[in-house]
Symmetry: C2
Subunit: 223 residues, 2 copies
DNA sequence: AGCGAGTCTGTAACACTGTTACACCGCCCG
DNA sequence: CGGGCGGTGTAACAGTGTTACAGACTCGCT
């Protein structure tokens, strides 16, 4: 792989047939493909075809497929930027951080799965963790107790988004939702059966569970 | 694919060279391979070699790879069995259900990822959902409120296990944990820095967050 | 006994994947 | 002018899922 950026060799045309290939151009094209059809659809040959070049050029610029995906993840993660808390009470500020984090993740749908598969979770959530640490401190918690709270919240948000994405990707559940909740299994609570049938409202569910968890975590002393 | 079970053709030897191949034998071998090296290591050719047969026989018995994995998931899910709650207070009984669910999932490490990738989450958690519905009812909640609570808890457990598995699979985080939390980023709280460095104790963290969430969910009225 | 049908297996191929050995081309520098 | 370096292209290798097709084997019927 080359280390430094290269200058354009000869032609002065900005984007025409014989524009020199750069690492960034490869990453851009790869990012576009991943954004459109997911990481699985990114094959080295298709990428080369998209760029109008040969496979080996791709390899020269990015090493191999794994490095390419890694670079992609890295780039998106650093582009995410930091997270600012909003609200007045510590609890509401914490909730706002989790909402911002979830929004960031949902803004890059494929990223979540990619980061998940590569085990880069910690790295990715550093900014959010930072913000959470600050707010938890502001709420008066210190030391291991504070660390536990932060970690619980991070697990909660990440897990929620993972499950949420899963549901979106698999539109038809098997067997169908409706067959699962009849009179008996719902214990004669039709409203509950209705509530458990069909897709949940993720926004509402997320707020509900995060608020519950924050209340539970900030409230009483640990048992 | 054949529909009915077949009898043994001729030989009376139980497991020797020319034992007829059955769908169950294929599933067993596949399950063993997945259990040992994960779903990715299951290739049709390796599976055929393991069984001492040809690839096409596998295809005849199970259709294709996707169906094979699906059948595997299906079989393990139905084998999981139901979940019984333990404890006296509704809160502790709910917590016990979530713990049992997590234990089930952790008992079949690869299953979680497979179910996740196939979007069979709902199907898989039917027994746990059932138990949770019962306990939430016992706690005095009904209708949509109860449904929300159940769903929040399921999301929580599944998400937690997903994140937890992720951490286990990727032993070396990048960059290393220790470099992330110095004096400044930890806001001069060394105990917190220590708490956030290195792998968490999942058992403790799980209990903590589930209890917090249960407390928050069962406690005050929804806002 | 013959024969056909259904069940199952093996050979060989197709299209596709990531990856690489190797030849080549064009530019810049000495 | 010549050599090296940066970058590209051709063609191959090994491995993947999948399937068309030709058989083998067993059973049941005539």
């Amino acid at each position: 792989m080359q280390e430094t950026e290269i200058g354009e060799p000869m032609s002065s045309q900005p984007s025409s047939p014989k524009r020199a290939l750069t690492r960034d151009a490869v990453l851009d094209a790869a990012a576009a493909m991943v954004k459109k059809d997911g990481p699985r659809a990114l094959t080295m040959r298709k990428l080369a075809a998209e760029l109008g070049t040969a496979v080996t050029s791709i390899y020269w610029h990015v090493g191999n497929r794994e490095s390419l995906l890694e670079a992609l993840v890295e780039r998106t993660v650093t582009d995410l930027g930091e997270i600012r808390a909003q609200g007045r009470t510590p609890a509401s500020r914490i909730v706002s951080v989790t909402r911002a984090l979830r929004a960031q993740l949902r803004g890059h749908p494929h990223l979540v799965a990619m980061v998940h598969e590569r085990g880069l979770t910690e790295r990715m959530f550093q900014p959010a963790t930072q913000a959470l640490v600050h707010e938890v401190h502001a709420a008066g918690l210190r030391g291991t107790r504070a660390a536990d709270v932060v970690r619980s919240l991070l697990f909660q948000v990440v897990g929620f988004v993972l499950v949420e994405r899963n549901r979106e990707r698999a539109p038809v559940q098997y067997p169908g939702d409706e067959s699962l909740w009849d009179e008996a299994t719902a214990e004669h609570d039709p409203a509950l059966a209705k509530g458990l049938t069909g897709p949940p409202d993720p926004e509402r569910l997320f707020l509900l569970s995060v608020r519950a968890m924050v209340d539970g975590l900030l409230g009483p002393a640990p048992r």
